[in-house]
């Protein structure tokens, strides 16, 4: 593109320009003087009078004519000289003005450096790379570092001033944070190593000493909760300080110092502090303090494990006291309720204060498992607790409430190591509830069965479910019986029979007693009916488990309806024909076993307000020399009078031993079955492996005793299921 002007002649100018190119020995010196002067003017803040074009061209020409080294060296010496002058003025700054002067000079230096780099741009692009010198900007920073920051007069004063200001801020004073930020940024700009070596390291060292001293003071005058508050505040302050005026990389380092000095070094003293330590926090549900301890201790090695260990020790000791306290053993329901409350309490602590930490949940679980199994009666007591809830405790409760309580009980159940013992007791208690119609709801009962099945499998609950099936079948059978036989039965007493499958129910062999004639008649009719529709069946009456409703008329004509046990009914019916009977008379006529009879008579004659019989001599206990009379003077405000048998809510010691014995007997076939299953699949196995495998298979129900396993193996060898290896006595072989 042409501007359109006429062509112009320029040949006469060529010679004039070429003369400039000739090397003039003084050219370089003159040019450098121009540039040097300009550098000084830049530092003197008089750049506005300089010509960029002239300066750039001068530097360009020097490099072009091979004077790059002179230019570079001149720059370095000039800047060095300027920085030494700057150093003096910074050193001369008084007191608090020191940092301000340093910062102001640093900003001036940066501005100057920018301009100098611009006019020497060509040198930076060409001479510096080829000569391997330091680029201009970096050179300026290095010179500042060497002559200002590392100046002996400035360096220690700078570090001490910074640290002193930080110390004052820690003491609550307000300092110039913006200035601090500028200084630390300067150190970072000079290179991370400068910041780290010249500030961060001394900062961390001084901080460690500061917090070491402070923590010593705090630990003496503060309780645990307050100490942790202070430690937390200090941590937050240090993090805030970093965000305000330190390099972000310092945060992890300074928090590590605080953590070590204030937490790690005093961890054990804190948790064990008298009246305010971890145990006190746990006892008093101090969620905030516990949460703070958790979040602080988590920051140090072994912090959480320290808390966990103390909590575990406390839990085990507390739980142990709870389960072995003779006082708490008196009431099984109270016993279990306290355990559930303890579990709720610590579950809440773990969720609110410990962030649902899995390791703490595991510690809680292992602690409960530890102490719950210290008391061999725990399985029985848990069953009794469920019995209490399902009899009356859950009456009127919503379905949701039922589920919550049963779920909590299941948590305790999971801790049991002898779940088969629980099953034995649960079966007994369930039987009583079902047979006496004393259950709040079928749904609740079935819900419990479902939970047990989920936990331990079908085998565990199959018999329990069989019990429910029997109840249903019995109901249907009785309906059918009365529908078909109503004419034959006439006005006799009404009979309600529960047909119990042998093996499903915890029945005991019961010698038959003599039923009253009226009852006997209708029983025989039922027997004939039932056996007529079920071939091959055998009916055995369990008279020790029944109840009866009797209408009675007393001396002055007062009428009452008595609710009594079957045995009590047999006794009372005798008095229709006699006014007085001796103990021996009654025993002979009813054939009720002595222990049952005594308990039965005690309920009828010795309980105030329920004594429908009178006995001579008057005393609290039954003896075989007693004589009993119908109590004509019996009165009661209620028309319906329930006379309960004096039954122990807990098993007596002999009964407990008997239950234990039956549990042990039941375990033998289970252990043998496990051994046979294992050997059938392995064919050859050594003794220790068998013990380990059997334990593993059965621990869902109970922990097998290795000695018992050994005996079972011996028994199987005798019966030729197994044999010993001829060479290795510890090896067993499976025999087909």
């Amino acid at each position: 593109m042409s501007s359109g002007g006429p062509p112009r002649k320029r040949n006469f100018k060529i010679e004039a320009f070429k003369n400039r190119v000739d090397l003039d020995p003084k050219y370089a010196e003159r040019t450098w003087k121009v540039l040097e002067h300009a550098i000084h003017e830049i530092y003197n803040r008089n750049a506005s009078g300089l010509s960029f074009e002239e300066l750039y061209r001068s530097a360009y020409n020097m490099v072009l004519h091979k004077y790059g080294e002179k230019l570079y060296d001149g720059l370095q010496s000039t800047m060095t000289w300027r920085l030494k002058e700057i150093s003096k003025s910074i050193e001369a700054a008084q007191g608090g003005l020191f940092l301000e002067e340093l910062n102001a000079k640093w900003m001036d230096h940066n501005k100057a450096l920018q301009m100098i780099r611009d006019i020497l741009m060509y040198m930076d692009r060409t001479y510096v790379p080829t000569s391997h010198r330091t680029p201009v900007h970096e050179l300026g920073l290095n010179l500042w570092r060497d002559h200002i920051i590392h100046s002996p007069m400035i360096h220690s004063r700078l570090v001490n001033t910074l640290l002193d200001l930080i110390k004052r801020e820690r003491m609550g004073e307000v300092i110039n944070r913006g200035l601090m930020r500028s200084i630390t940024k300067m150190l970072m700009d000079l290179g991370p190593a400068v910041y780290q070596d010249d500030f961060e390291k001394p900062f961390l060292d001084v901080s460690a000493r500061f917090y070491s001293v402070e923590s010593q003071e705090f630990i003496v005058c503060c309780d645990c909760g307050n100490y942790l508050k202070k430690a937390e505040r200090r941590l937050n302050e240090e993090m805030e300080r970093v965000s305000h005026y330190l390099d972000a990389g310092s945060e992890a380092k300074i928090t590590s110092v605080v953590e070590k000095e204030m937490i790690a070094n005093h961890m054990h003293r804190l948790v064990h502090m008298e009246n305010s330590g971890l145990v006190n926090m746990l006892v008093d549900d101090q969620y905030k303090d516990l949460g703070r301890m958790y979040s602080l201790f988590r920051r140090v090695p072994d912090g959480l494990s320290t808390i966990r260990d103390v909590m575990t020790s406390y839990l085990r000791e507390t739980g142990k006291q709870l389960v072995i306290d003779p006082e708490s053993l008196k009431d099984p329901v109270e016993f279990v309720q306290r355990l559930l409350n303890e579990k709720d309490k610590h579950d809440k602590i773990i969720s609110v204060a410990f962030g649902n930490d899995k390791t703490f949940q595991n510690a809680l679980n292992s602690s409960f498992e530890y102490f719950l199994n210290l008391n061999s009666r725990s399985p029985e007591f848990i069953s009794l607790y469920v019995d209490d809830k399902l009899r009356k405790g859950l009456k009127g409760a919503t379905e949701e409430d039922v589920e919550v309580i049963l779920d909590k009980v299941m948590m305790l159940f999971r801790y049991l190591q002898e779940k088969d013992v629980f099953e034995k007791y649960y079966k007994q208690h369930l039987a009583k509830r079902l047979l006496s119609s004393k259950t709040v709801s079928d749904d609740a009962e079935r819900s419990m069965i479902v939970k047990l099945k989920t936990e331990c499998g079908y085998q565990f609950t199959s018999k329990l479910e069989g019990m429910f099936t029997d109840m249903k079948t019995s109901q249907d059978t009785m309906q059918d019986f009365y529908a078909k036989k109503s004419e034959e039965l006439g006005d006799g007493p009404t009979l309600d029979v529960h047909i119990l499958t042998t093996g499903s129910w915890p029945t005991q062999p019961s010698p038959p007693c003599n039923l009253p004639t009226e009852i006997l008649t209708v029983c025989e009719k039922f027997r004939a009916y039932y056996l007529g529709t079920h071939n091959g069946r055998r009916l055995t009456w369990q008279t020790n488990m029944g109840t009866a409703d009797i209408k009675a008329t007393f001396g002055k004509g007062q009428k009452h309806e008595l609710n009594v046990s079957t045995y009590q009914m047999c006794v009372l019916m005798l008095f229709n024909n006699a006014d007085g009977l001796t103990y021996k008379d009654i025993e002979r006529d009813t054939e009720i076993p002595a222990s049952d009879l005594k308990r039965c008579l005690q309920s009828l004659a010795c309980v105030k307000g329920k004594n429908v019989l009178r006995k001579e001599p008057m005393s609290k206990d039954i003896s075989e020399d007693d004589t009993f009379y119908f109590n004509d003077k019996f009165t009661s405000k209620l028309v319906k009078v329930k006379i309960g048998t004096v039954v122990a809510q807990k098993e007596s010691e002999p009964e407990k031993q008997e239950t234990r014995q039956r549990v042990e007997e039941d375990r033998k076939p289970q252990i043998e079955a496990a051994i046979v299953r294992i050997m059938k699949s392995r064919r050859v196995l050594d003794h220790n492996s068998i013990v380990a495998e059997v334990t593993k298979q059965l621990q869902a129900r109970f922990l097998p005793n290795p000695v018992v396993i050994k005996k079972r193996i011996e028994s199987l060898i005798e019966r030729e299921f197994l044999e010993r290896d001829k060479v290795d006595r510890k090896l067993y072989r499976y025999l087909a």
Binding site: M1, P7, R10, E53, E54, M115, D118, M121, Y122
Partner: protein, 137 residues
């Protein structure tokens, strides 16, 4: 016994895809031509370079964008930053004109020798200056 079957049929969605083909046609860039026109017609200039007796009106922002040297000169802290007239010494007007063309138009080709009747001796100098300008970018 009652057997209940719930049958669910899953078929492809019946939405029709939108037909394509409505792309907007963007005309080819004529940025160099427009900037060349800007330089040639000397509109809205904010700086005048005085080189060897000739004047060259120009736009600071264009020069600054294209050359760090010009950026430092025109937007720095020295006197040119506030001046409307900048003197350039030690350079021939023809060379400076070629430099401006290079900055505004930016073609990979170097200026044609025939322009402005620059003689052969000046050609090497033109090359050197242009390379300097490019190297400082």
């Amino acid at each position: 016994m009652i057997i209940q079957c719930d049958l669910t049929v899953v078929r492809d969605p019946e939405l029709c895809k939108t037909k394509g083909g409505f792309e907007i046609q963007v005309p080819p860039s004529d940025l160099a031509e427009q900037f060349g026109k800007l330089l040639l017609e000397e509109e809205e200039t904010d700086v005048v370079f005085s080189v060897g007796g000739e004047t060259f009106p120009a736009h600071k922002v264009v020069l600054a964008a294209r050359s760090p040297v010009f950026k430092a000169q025109l937007y720095g802290n020295m006197k040119e930053a506030k001046a409307r007239r900048v003197a350039v010494e030690d350079m021939q007007p023809g060379v400076f004109r070629a430099l401006l063309k290079f900055i505004y138009i930016y073609t990979d080709a170097l200026p044609v020798i025939g322009d402005d009747n620059i003689c052969d001796d000046d050609y090497d100098e033109i090359i050197r200056h242009l390379l300097v300008a490019a190297a400082c970018r």
